[in-house]
Amino acid sequence: MTSAIAERKKEEIATPQSGEPIRNRRVFVPLADIYETKDRLFILADMPGVDEQSIDITLEKNVLTINGFTTPNTENELKLVHCECPEGNYRRVFTLSEEVDRDGIEATVKNGVLKLILPKSQKSMTRKIAVKSE
């Protein structure tokens, strides 16, 4: 049983919105899962070939930018005869709709998957208001 979603080809980033890169390297949009619980927001992104040293995450106002840099992979004395995963960097930008507790952001990388945990800040969490009878 194969999930159709996983068979998506690497999608290239559209350059006009994010400015043209200086280096002649392709930039791909990593596939991501986003889910949230009552108090936290989770982002999982597939970035094969990226380790904890080569990920750059910034949060400016409510714009979250994930950059992943890969090292070019060449094999000595061998010729590339078939290519389905062209090399390149990763970049994806998300606009967060809720206020996030900046100090509590956690980011981990395992087997080429980035996991971002963004705790919601106290003031944006839903509060139950008790109604008193007069």
Partner: protein, 144 residues
């Protein structure tokens, strides 16, 4: 198609392809318009050896099952769903999960004993060397 993949990202053919893909996605409103097999692989080859590199993000090394039979390599992988949290709601679900199988036929017989597979950061690299019996031999012609 192969040459196009390798071409510079700024040449017109590649740009055209990117635009075409985005347009067809917009028009068809489907996400799976560019299907390809999972995991995607790159193959490097020479007369003596072959290197297959596969992108398998989110898969543990023990979930990779690699088998070589004659000239066919079969790669079986399993990707687990991320752990479920209490009361979670999904906003986006692009990463797939489940079992995947892919077979690759190699151009020549390989030595099954010297296969070297390594795995790091979601990239699987498998190195094959050509079987000694299969290597081309040079025959000297003697003048009689």
């Amino acid at each position: 198609m192969f040459f196009q993949e390798l071409a510079s990202p700024f040449d017109s053919a590649t740009q055209m392809q990117i635009l075409q893909d985005r347009l067809s996605r917009l028009v068809n409103n489907i996400h799976e318009s560019r299907n390809t097999e999972f995991p995607p692989i790159n193959v490097w080859a020479s007369e003596k050896s072959i290197v297959v590199v596969a992108e398998v993000p989110g898969i543990d090394a023990e979930d990779i099952d690699l088998q070589v039979c004659n000239q066919t390599v079969t790669l079986k992988t399993k990707r687990h769903l991320a752990e479920q949290e209490e009361g979670q709601t999904f906003h986006r679900r692009e990463r797939g999960h489940g079992q995947f199988t892919r077979s690759i036929e190699l151009p020549y017989a390989i030595d099954a004993e010297t296969v070297n597979a390594s795995f790091s950061n979601g990239m699987l690299r498998i190195e094959f060397t050509r079987a000694a019996a299969d290597l081309p031999k040079k025959i000297t012609v003697q003048a009689s």
